[in-house]
């Protein structure tokens, strides 16, 4: 899967969790771009990404996650 394809899959997760069906994200998409992206949404996004990609995101990454790139970098 290319990085672009992974970002596309992440975009689906963000759309679902943030309840914004037409949302378009870039790697720079961050919590400051979207008021709905709060700590609860972060957990939901991480859990969905873990399920979708079969990974376990490290606790430290979850604690400080603020943009899509930090998650994208972890995807296999």
């Amino acid at each position: 899967m290319t990085r672009e394809e992974k970002l596309g899959r992440l975009q689906e997760i963000f759309r679902d969790v943030l309840d914004q069906p037409t949302l378009r994200i870039t790697e720079d998409f961050s919590t400051t771009d979207c008021p709905e992206w709060d700590s609860v949404a972060t957990v939901q996004i991480v859990l969905a990404a873990e399920t979708a990609f079969g990974i376990r995101v490290p606790l430290e990454t979850v604690a400080h996650l603020r943009n899509a790139r930090e998650l994208l970098d972890l995807l296999p």
Binding site: D38, S39, V40, V43, V62, A63, R66
Partner: protein
């Protein structure tokens, strides 16, 4: 020496209610409703000014001992778990030992533990039963975090309440009692539940009183309790099911053998996710947070106490208790009630300063 067994429980929360309406005025309706939808918490009980965690513990213990007519001189072990004691020195156990009128032959000490406090306290008491030190123990789990949470910290104010639970332990008969324990620690996460300027490492001063707002608008200072909610949520969802599975294997039991599985009452969505991962059916689940909030170290025993009060726990029931939090730490305990069960004692959900003045 006989094992220890739970023979009485009583929980106490203060009369003061922190309602959704008050919080909506402070944080906005959308924020509060969004958190409540996931947390399942719609009202919290918090102490009024002048009331402390020790007061809650005193009331819980005093009422339990009175209801069971336990001679105070027969208590030979007092363990108090709290993170919000009356003093840094001495431990709250000594303050309560005096107030409760316990004897000079009663050992007393504090256990500095957070949300995982109950299994830890039970295990320590069990060890002292087996070594012959204790024959009748009182465990008091109490916290009043409302006093150390910044009033504009939306993530903590909306979740936490204050409360205390008294547990009486006496020698086990037959196969009842505290049957097993399983503990662990992931200290890589201790910073995610922390009150930075609360001890020797970071002395209090002008800098520690400075208010800091994060990018979501939550305000706190270094003198307040702080939580990285997303880290803690992630930790709980992954770690707790794993350690409960380890514990069940160690104890040689399955979910099918259990009558009730009680988890730390942090957040309803979190608890539901853990139950789902473990395959715990609805009839073995229990929630006690909607109208009291997360009671920190008192939350797990308060849920057990409330389950007893509601008649959800039958004599001889096999119960798994799993608690997790500050540290980051976790503890699991397997408990079998006796043939007579636990005598239900009405919960105290109304404690006021006037009550305390009447029974100092």
């Amino acid at each position: 020496m006989p094992r220890a067994a739970l023979t009485a429980l009583h929980h106490c929360v203060p009369a003061r209610r922190l309602t959704e309406a008050e919080l909506e005025a402070r944080f906005g309706a959308k924020n509060v409703q969004s958190i409540a939808k996931l947390s399942g918490i719609h009202e919290r009980r918090i102490v009024e000014p002048g009331m402390t965690a020790a007061d809650l513990a005193f009331a819980a213990a005093d009422r339990l001992l009175g209801a069971r007519a336990v001679p105070r001189g027969t208590i030979d072990l007092l363990i108090v778990t709290t993170q919000t004691g009356d003093y840094q020195i001495p431990g709250t156990a000594y303050v309560l030992h005096e107030r409760l009128g316990l004897s000079k032959s009663c050992a007393a000490y504090d256990l500095n533990q957070g949300c995982a406090a109950y299994p830890y306290a039970l295990a320590l008491a069990e060890g002292l039963f087996e070594s012959g030190v204790a024959r009748r123990a009182l465990i008091l789990n109490t916290d009043a975090l409302s006093g150390v949470i910044h009033p504009q910290d939306r993530t903590l104010v909306t979740l936490h309440g204050d409360g205390a639970v008294a547990t009486l332990l006496e020698p086990a008969v037959a196969d009842e009692g505290l049957l097993g324990f399983h503990f662990g620690t992931d200290s890589s996460g201790w910073r995610y539940l922390c009150m930075p300027a609360s001890g020797a490492r970071q002395p209090r001063g002008e800098n520690t009183r400075r208010e800091i707002a994060d990018d979501t608008g939550c305000v706190r200072t270094d003198e307040h309790f702080q939580m990285n909610g997303q880290a803690i949520f992630h930790f709980a969802i992954h770690q707790v099911p794993e350690v409960v599975r380890e514990a069940l294997k160690k104890f040689g039991v399955t979910v099918a053998d259990l009558d009730l599985v009680i988890l730390h009452q942090a957040n309803r969505f979190m608890i539901e996710q853990i139950y789902k991962k473990l395959g715990v059916p609805p009839e073995k689940q229990f929630f006690y947070l909607e109208n009291v909030g997360n009671l920190s170290g008192a939350a797990t025993p308060a849920a057990l106490s409330e389950a007893v009060r509601q008649g959800r726990v039958k004599p001889g029931a096999l119960i798994l208790l799993a608690a997790f939090g500050v540290g980051l730490s976790w503890g699991v305990a397997l408990v079998r009630l006796g043939a007579n069960g636990l005598l239900p004692i009405a919960a105290s959900t109304d404690l006021t300063l006037a009550d305390l003045a009447a029974h100092p």
